[in-house]
Each structure stands twice: as C-alpha cells, then as structure tokens.
C-alpha cells in the first residue's frame, strides 16, 4: 500500500465511524433527547452510555492491546463532533479524554478500564481545586492511610458517576486514588450549569479511597489526559457550532418579514457567510490539531496543539452561538427554540478546561519557550 492509500483508508474508517455515531444519536432522538434529559433534572441516560459503548465509542482512542479500538484522538474527535451536534449530555469526552486518558497511562490493567470501555460504569476525574478567592488554586487535597481529606472542584460528570478518580497529595508526592461514589465522608455539592448539567464540588473528610498510582507519573499522565480532553472538547464545540449554524441557516431561509425570507437580505447573508467561514476554519484547524496530536509523543508539543484547537473552537462557538440568537430574533431568546440549547451548551464547554483567551496565552507561552530553547 502506498502512503496515499493508507491515508485514504484511515479517512474511510473515520467516515464510517462518523456515520455510525450520527445514526446512533439521531435514532436516539437527536437534540430533543438533550432537552428531555435537561427537563428531567439534568442527568444523562445510562442506557445510552451502554449503546455508545457497544459502538466502541469510549475505547476509540485506547490502544488495541488495552482493549480499545486504537484509532487515536482523530477518531475521538469524530465522536466528539457528533456528540456536539446533538448536544448529548453523556460524559463522552470526559471519559475518552480524562478518565480513560488517566487509567490507560497509569494502570492499563485495572479492571475499571474494561468497565469504562464497556459502558458499565462512568468515573469522574477530580483534579482541580478552588482557592479561597474562588479561582483555581494549587492542590492541597491530602491522601494518607487510605483516606482522603480536602476538596475538589469543577468535577464534570460527578452526578451519576460510579466513583471518582482523585488526584491528591501524599507525603512523598502526587497520587491517583479511586473513591467510590457512596464512600463515607464524601459530600457532593452540585453546581448547575447553563445547559442543565452539573459540576461537582467534592469535599472529603476521611473518605476511604484506593491508591491506583503515585509519583511524578501521575502529574505527567494528568497533563496528557487534560490535553486530550481539551482537544476533544474543541471537537465537540466544532460539531455544536456546525449544527447551530445549520439550524440558523434553515431559520433564515424560512422566516419571512417584509414578504421575503430574511435570508434574502444582504446583511443577513453576509453574516451567515462569516459564520460559515468561521465554522469551516474551526473544523479544519481542530481536525488538523487532533491528527497532529496523534503523531506526536512529546507532551510539551502536544499540549500547545490542544490549546490551539480549544482557542479556535471557543472563538468560533462563541461567535456562532451568539450570532445565531441574533439571527433568530426574539424567538432565539425563548427556551422553546433549540438554538438556545446550543448557546447554553457552548457556554459550558467553553468554560470547561479553559476558554479561548486562556488557551491563546498557553499557546503563546509554549511558542515563546520553544523559541527561547532554540
């Protein structure tokens, strides 16, 4: 096989993956399902998690010898885009990127790996902490004698998860532990997000937890997993932006004022084109970034690529979802129209793991450091 043949067969695999993911989500009810779940209290559908697992979704980026499909982050991105298109609330990106990202790097033989890939359980990763001023702060959560003390913040997928992968400190450095969801002394404070989902604020008081890994490797793996999740969140935003744009385009073609579709007015047309261009640039940039991350092993190189992806995706999603409301006019401001669901999901995904300004700064600093090193 020539290089071109290999490339095109990879492209073909991704196309098939996209098709099957799209069919699965559409059959399950598309974005209507997201609305129903939100109205029902903001959880996700455990049955859907199992169906996604059957389609191989969670193990997509896990190497084959660890029980996954070994298709890389590019394939994870394909899934994430489809999740974004229907704003599915299941913890897909956080599982592929964070929980499996951590476990496959630190303890690939742990039985939880197979359970996660199989969709039998979900595990939330608790790694960030809130300082006294409310902003992110250094980790102080302690692990000693098999017990956790302290707190963790901004935990995605905390509600409905079977347990927590907690990054904590012990006497001789960082440690990754597993605390069950019903563990003693664990209190979960739920913070409702714009899209109806929740972030968990966890507090541990002598909460029993099992050690999975320790030492510097924990932080390295965490950084890698966060980079993966960041890039996948970017892909989710790309899918979300695409669909938000399509919905808006349909709307301006049908909504009539002054006896004409508003999409026949040049000012509306030019704004629509700008959103379309924004969307295409984001798609191209983010897909390229994911492919580059697959071919890079150096964490110092991969992290800024993820930042590039998230910076672009957030920039695009912000512009597209805000302008989508404007182009819908007053009905865009109602909860009845779907476009608002997309705006609300974009708010949550943009804030998660850093917004555009944050990632531009990270990207620029990495670029400067690389320049200084040369």
């Amino acid at each position: 096989m020539t290089q071109t043949d290999i490339l095109s067969s990879e492209q073909e695999d991704l196309r098939l993956l996209r098709e099957s993911a799209r069919t699965l989500f559409e059959r399950a009810g598309g974005s209507d399902r997201a609305r129903k779940l939100r109205d029902a209290g903001g959880g996700f559908d455990a049955e859907m998690v199992r169906e996604l697992a059957e389609a191989g979704v969670f193990g997509v980026a896990v190497p084959e010898d660890q029980g996954g499909l070994g298709m890389g982050l590019a394939a994870g991105g394909v899934i994430a885009e489809e999740v974004g298109r229907v704003i599915a609330p299941e913890p897909v990106v956080s599982t592929i990127g964070l929980s499996l990202g951590l476990l496959r790097r630190l303890c690939p033989d742990h039985p939880k790996m197979a359970q996660l890939i199989g969709g039998e359980i979900s595990l939330a990763v608790a790694w960030q902490e809130r300082g006294p001023d409310g902003a992110p702060a250094d980790a102080t959560c302690r692990y000693a004698d098999g017990k956790l003390t302290g707190g963790k913040a901004w935990v995605v997928g905390a509600i409905g998860s079977h347990g927590f992968l907690v990054v904590a400190e012990q006497d001789d450095g960082p440690v990754l532990v597993l605390a069950e969801a019903d563990a003693q002394g664990l209190v979960i404070d739920k913070r409702t997000q714009a899209d109806g989902s929740s972030l968990g604020e966890l507090s541990f008081s002598g909460t029993p937890a099992a050690e999975l890994a320790s030492g510097g490797a924990v932080l390295t793996a965490l950084a890698e997993a966060v980079a993966d999740a960041t890039a996948l969140a970017a892909a989710e935003l790309v899918g979300l932006s695409e669909r938000a744009f399509e919905i808006t385009l349909d709307y301006i073609k049908t909504r009539e004022q002054f006896d004409k579709p508003i999409g026949s007015f040049q000012v509306i047309q030019h704004r629509a084109v700008d959103l379309n261009v924004m969307c295409e640039v984001a798609q191209a940039g983010v897909r390229e970034a994911l492919a580059q991350m697959d071919s890079e092993t150096d964490p110092k190189v991969r992290a800024p690529i993820a930042s590039r992806a998230k910076a672009r995706a957030v920039t695009a999603a912000k512009k597209i979802t805000r302008d989508a409301i404007q182009l819908h006019g007053a009905v865009g401001y109602t909860d009845e129209f779907d476009i608002g669901l997309y705006l609300n999901r974009a708010l949550v995904l943009s804030a998660w793991l850093g917004d555009d300004a944050y990632h531009r700064r990270i990207w620029f600093e990495a670029r400067e450091a690389e320049g200084a090193a040369q």
Partner: protein, 383 residues
Amino acid sequence: MTDWNAMTDAEFRKEVRQFFEAEYPEELRHLPHRPKFAEIEHWHRKLHAKGWVAPAWPAEFGGMGLNASKLLIFYEEQQRWGVNRGRDMGVQMVGPLIIKFGTQKQKDYWLPRILSCEDIWCQGYSEPGAGSDLANLRTRAEIDGDDFVINGQKIWTTMAHDATHIFMLVRTDPDAPKKQQGISFLLAPMDQPGVDVRTITTLSGETEFCEVFFDNARTPRENLVGELNKGWTMAKALLSFERIFIGSPSLAQNALGQLESFARGRGAFDDPVFRDRFAQAALDVEDHAALYARFADQLKRGETLGADVSMLKIWVTECFQRITELMIEAAGPDGGSIGPLQVGNVSVDVLSSFYKARPTTIYGGSNEIQRNILSKAVLGLPG
C-alpha cells in the same frame, strides 16, 4: 522532456526549491513593488532557458505541464523564497485562454512570444463603471473591414505602462438581451496612436495601476479569441485555479513573520494585550492554512473546487490586514513613517505592508462580492 508529474511531491519540491535558491537573484527576493520587465529581465531569461516560465501550460506549448498538486508546490516554493511572479499576465491569463479557445494560428504566433516575454501583456477588464459589476463594461469594439475599432476606457490596468499588448473584454453586441452576452475577448497592441495610457498614483505612492483610453484604436479581426460575443463565459472558465491561489496563506504568513521580528525587536511582546492579539493573528494564519490544505487536497485528488473555495480569500486577506494593523501598532510613534524601519538587524517597511494589504480585499472579486457568491452558491440563500 521531464515528466514532473511522475516525481513524488517531495522530490519535485526539492528540485524546485534548489533551482530557486541557487538561481534567483538575491536582490529581487520579496520585492515590495511590482517590477518593470527590465528590472527582472535577467531572471526571466534564466527561467525561460530552464523552460519554467509557464508551469501550468501543457508541455506541447512549452509549459511544464504540471498537474494541480505539483502546481501548488511550485507556487508554494515560489512564494516561500520570495520569487517575483514577473510579468505573468500573459502566462497566467492570455496563454491559457488561447490554448483553450484559440485557433492553431493564434497558438503558433502568440504562445512562444508570451514565453519569451517578447510580448508583455496587461489585462483590460475593469472600467470606471464596471468593477464588481464587470459585465456592465462599455468599451466598444466594432468591425471595420479587417479590423476591430475600439473606443472606451479601461481602468486598474496593472502595469499597462510597461506592456506591449492588452487582452480585453469588449462589448461587441450592445443589443444583446443580457449584459453578460455581447462581450468578446480581444487582443490588441498598445503601441498605436489610438491608445493612451495614464498611470494612477496609489495611496502608497506607487504607479502600478493605469487607465487606458481607446480612441479609434485598431486591432486585426484575427485577434478575436474564441467566438464573437462569447468572451464572458470564456473568461469565467479560467478562474477556477485562480480562486485557490488568491486564497493561499503566503501573504499573511510572510506578514506575520515580519510582524514577529519587528515586534520582538521593539519590545512589543512585553505588553500582554499585544501578545494576545499577536496570538490571535498567528492562530488565524495557522488555522487558515489547515483549511487551505483541505482544499489543496481536493485538487490533488483530482476533484474540482466548488464555490466554497472563496472563503479562503475572505479569511486570508482580512487576516493579512489585521496583521499589518498590528505592525503599525508595534511601530508606535513610527507608525506613520514611510520607508523601512530598522530594528536590530531586521528592516521592516511597516506602511508598505499596510498599503499592500488594502487592495487584497478589493481585487479578484471584492470580499463583499465573495460573500454574495458564498451566500447563494454555497449556503443556498435566496434572492
């Protein structure tokens, strides 16, 4: 005859790169202005001797016969090394049209003269009343014996004052039901009493653009290319490759490189606001390049590009303009100064870049026209 297309992309790129690096005169790299032919004649001779004047033309007419993929590489290398395009209107515009629609006699006569630059061509399309609305052109050509007699005016004719011939769209049937009909494609010599050229001084003080006045100018009837009254369709048929070329990342990439070295020398990166704006611009360029690569891949697979390729031009030209604004910002009190500014061992002509960026959103179909095209042809919006 070398079959360039049989080479791998990497081999071909290396070959092109080596030739440019070894042979292209250093003093002509990244020329800030459009040269007269005399200024680049020595380079043109080398290119001609090598047989590389017309990369896109089929080999049988003296071109390199490159396919789309190799052609992109050729242009990428050309831009990377700052190789001037030369006086390429003949090669880019007239030649392909003659090859496609011309008679054997026209091919035999004109094509070698284009390659050798014995004839230097300028493009007579725009008129004072026909810019974005090009089909509105009014310059008349009427048959009189064996000649066409031409009356009217062309404008924005690049380098007409240094051209021997003009290829033009002229109205040959003023009564046609649609204005796109009744337009013909005509070749005419510039050196005659009925043709008067006046240069236009631009904002940057350059005189690359001209007005060309036709007062009973004449050209032989045999200089009609293609059928009478079919010029509009012919001219449009040539634009497909042009549309990706005009959206290539190189202008913005080069400007970004200049901005970076200039801003660094001036300490502009100490300012976190400037850093963020630089990062935005740099990422705009990088992500545009990713989109460009997607379209280029389409060409490489032998697919035809759709109207959506116009988005490349919109993005890259507007990005180019933002970058030049940042250069002015980094220049601080020197932001209004004409000429090169020295920073350490780098010399950057801030205003020259700024001026160069202005017409990019106007030429080649203004960005507003591009948005009209995208909204109808790609988004399917009505009206």
